[in-house]
Symmetry: C2
Subunit: 107 residues, 2 copies
DNA sequence: ACGTGATATATCCTCGAGAATATATCGCAT
DNA sequence: ATGCGATATATTCTCGAGGATATATCACGT
């Protein structure tokens, strides 16, 4: 499931996982590391997300006591929650057809 | 919405549109033309689909009275119908969250 | 003032997906 | 036999997304 914004992908599975991890860890670098992706890649995903929404989903600070960090904004937490709800609802609403379709698939 | 089969995409928006057009036109070439894609591309999509399912979704004949053509198999029609139902159910099941999420998006 | 560890951003480079091209094949009609 | 119009498949080529690398920036401790 993907949420599009023009040609860009505003939200997809990868971006959502990243959001969740940033919420947990409070760090872009740490979140990227846990997903096995480079900091660069994570940062570009975040840049895209922030550009797609009216308000940023992630806000980061440089320097400071903890040498910087990142956190979800209220909009970010809202978008994450909505996406997860939508996904759960989809799985639920397609269960019977999905079962039938899987039986037609090879693996 | 995408249906995966290992690493391959068994069904996605493009493939489903192609299936529908083949059902209507009875020809891979004609269907590809209407979607503005090359015959090669359409043929590769079909090859992938047929490989992902236990039985082919599209069967084609070469030569003959009408100089060949293509048609959906029973499995093909079933898969197409199931996908369309799943999509409709998803849209329905996520309407409220989707509306809320859209209000957070820029466009 | 300087080191530190995080974010921010530009620049180069690689690799592979997909387009383009070319060719083979089929089965019937004439 | 030969032509036709469709499918079938290999081969070559191109281009751009994404990774790798390098560097700048920040703000606080010490």
């Amino acid at each position: 499931m993907r949420v599009l914004c023009g040609e860009e992908i505003a939200l997809g599975p990868g971006k959502v996982d990243l959001l969740a991890l940033i919420g947990e860890t409070g760090s872009i670098r740490e979140a990227a590391g846990r997903m096995g992706m480079s900091y660069m890649r994570a940062w570009k995903l975040i840049k895209t997300m922030n550009a797609c929404f009216r308000k940023p989903l992630v806000e980061a600070v440089r320097g400071g006591r903890a040498h910087g960090g990142a956190a979800l904004t209220a909009t970010g937490r809202m978008a994450l929650a909505l996406y997860e709800q939508m996904e759960a609802n989809c799985v639920d609403a397609t269960r019977s057809q999905w079962k039938e379709l899987r039986s037609l698939l090879r693996d």
